[in-house]
């Protein structure tokens, strides 16, 4: 049953991915979210993390910087704020971003929840990028 799900990843900048896949795993709000063919209709937010999908025997990965997903009749649409393939990740830039985010986290006033959330989200994005790049 090759490629029973059609997966589409779009960001505001471009259409990142449009493929037939066998199964996929996405970073859901309540943990990893596995989607197999004939999944029930679903609408969900996505956290920062990796989206991995299987085609035949091979598994591919893209990073997601948060977003939304809709599953409907074996069509999965992912609306991501940003998405990148491992090959596109600039490790040096991600490393810099991580250092910057860590510094921001330390310097932020702990009572300022909004700034704190922004800084930790930035850190998480950088970490996910680095992790994905390491798998290249």
């Amino acid at each position: 049953m090759a490629g029973d799900i059609s997966l589409r990843v779009v960001t505001p900048v471009r259409l990142v991915l449009e493929e037939r896949v066998d199964e996929l795993t996405a970073p859901g709000p309540l943990g990893q979210l596995g989607i197999l063919p004939d999944h029930a209709a679903l609408m969900t937010t996505l956290d920062i993390g990796q989206l991995s999908y299987k085609q035949g025997g091979s598994t591919s990965v893209v990073t997601l910087a948060g977003g939304y997903a809709e599953v409907l009749d074996n069509v999965v649409t992912v609306l991501a704020d940003a998405a990148e393939f491992p090959a596109e990740i600039d490790t040096a830039r991600a490393e810099n971003a991580r250092a910057r985010a860590e510094r921001a986290l330390e310097e932020t006033d702990p009572t300022d929840e909004e700034a704190l959330a922004a800084a930790s989200a930035a850190l998480q994005r950088a970490l996910v990028r680095l992790e994905t790049a390491a798998r290249r």
Binding site: V13, M43, T44, Y68, L72
Partner: protein, 285 residues
């Protein structure tokens, strides 16, 4: 009649100007291509976002989220999107007319402008009215940042009750030749209506419909602004390209007119000299 030398100088100067307008036209054409691609590429995202929102909001009542609730408009926030630079034909003046009409249509309300692009800010600074803050957002910032900042600010003001609605005035991109100044409402969010007869698909919702809405609604405002900004940029380059194109062809007309004048002047000078030579010869003969 201007002298031959004056005309030559004038032709050289017009030719210089023509070279500049021609270069500007080509730069605008290249930028238009890129801006147009960006606007087209972001469309699938914006469309899917609208669809999700329509689908979600069809299953809740209007008062289930504060951003959906409309109230009497007393104070309105407006993003006014113009360009930083001129030389783009009627692009900005069409927008100014739209903004003036908007103010005329909302005489009772207190309208505060947030400017994207210098031209709009300059226009209203001269008239001394309506600005939320003095410094416009310039196009040096990437559009996604402008959109995020504007959306965050407007949503905050709406939720705190500091404003009762938000609009965006921008130029919709149709083609390089035509841009349409447009008013679109940002707040309260009015999701597209799903067909009544159409069966609503039963979705599993994660985390919950309320969380999804409070996540999706602000994002959709941001996306709407972002999309408008992309269209505005494409329109600006299109307008500039058209304006520079016609400037270049005007310069061509002017050059051929001046060349004709120059040839006439030269001919007249020659004739005059000939006459002088002939009459001198006759007088001596």
């Amino acid at each position: 009649m201007p002298s031959l030398k004056d005309i030559r100088k004038r032709i050289a100067s017009v030719r210089n100007t023509q070279q500049i307008t021609k270069a500007m036209k080509m730069v605008a054409a290249a930028k238009l291509r890129r801006a147009h691609d960006a606007a087209v590429e972001s469309r699938p995202y914006a469309e899917k976002m609208r669809e999700l929102l329509a689908n979600l909001s069809a299953r809740v009542s209007e008062d289930s989220h504060p951003l959906l609730v409309a109230r009497e408009e007393k104070r309105i926030d407006v993003v006014f999107v113009t360009t930083d630079r001129g030389l783009c034909g009627g692009y900005n003046s069409n927008l100014f007319r739209l903004a003036e009409n908007f103010l005329r249509d909302h005489p009772e309300q207190e309208v505060s402008f947030r400017f994207v692009g210098r031209k709009g800010a300059d226009f209203y600074r001269r008239r001394g009215r309506g600005a939320m803050d003095d410094s416009p957002v310039t196009w040096h910032l990437p559009p996604e940042e402008i959109a995020a900042a504007a959306a965050g600010r407007f949503i905050g003001r709406y939720l705190r009750g500091e404003s009762d609605g938000a609009y965006i005035l921008y130029s919709e991109f149709h083609s390089a030749l035509s841009q349409k100044p447009t008013v679109a409402r940002l707040l309260p969010v009015a999701p597209a209506k799903v067909d009544e007869d159409q069966h609503l698909t039963e979705y599993l919702l994660e985390p919950s419909i309320g969380d999804l809405l409070s996540n999706l609604l602000p994002k959709s405002v941001e996306v709407q602004i972002y999309q408008a900004l992309l269209e505005a940029v494409a329109g600006e380059h299109g307008a500039r390209m058209t304006a520079m194109e016609s400037a270049t062809s005007n310069a061509s007309d002017l050059i051929s007119h001046l060349t004709l004048q120059m040839n006439r002047a030269r001919q007249a000078a020659i004739t005059k000299e000939l006459l002088e030579v002939v009459s001198t010869a006759e007088a001596l003969g």
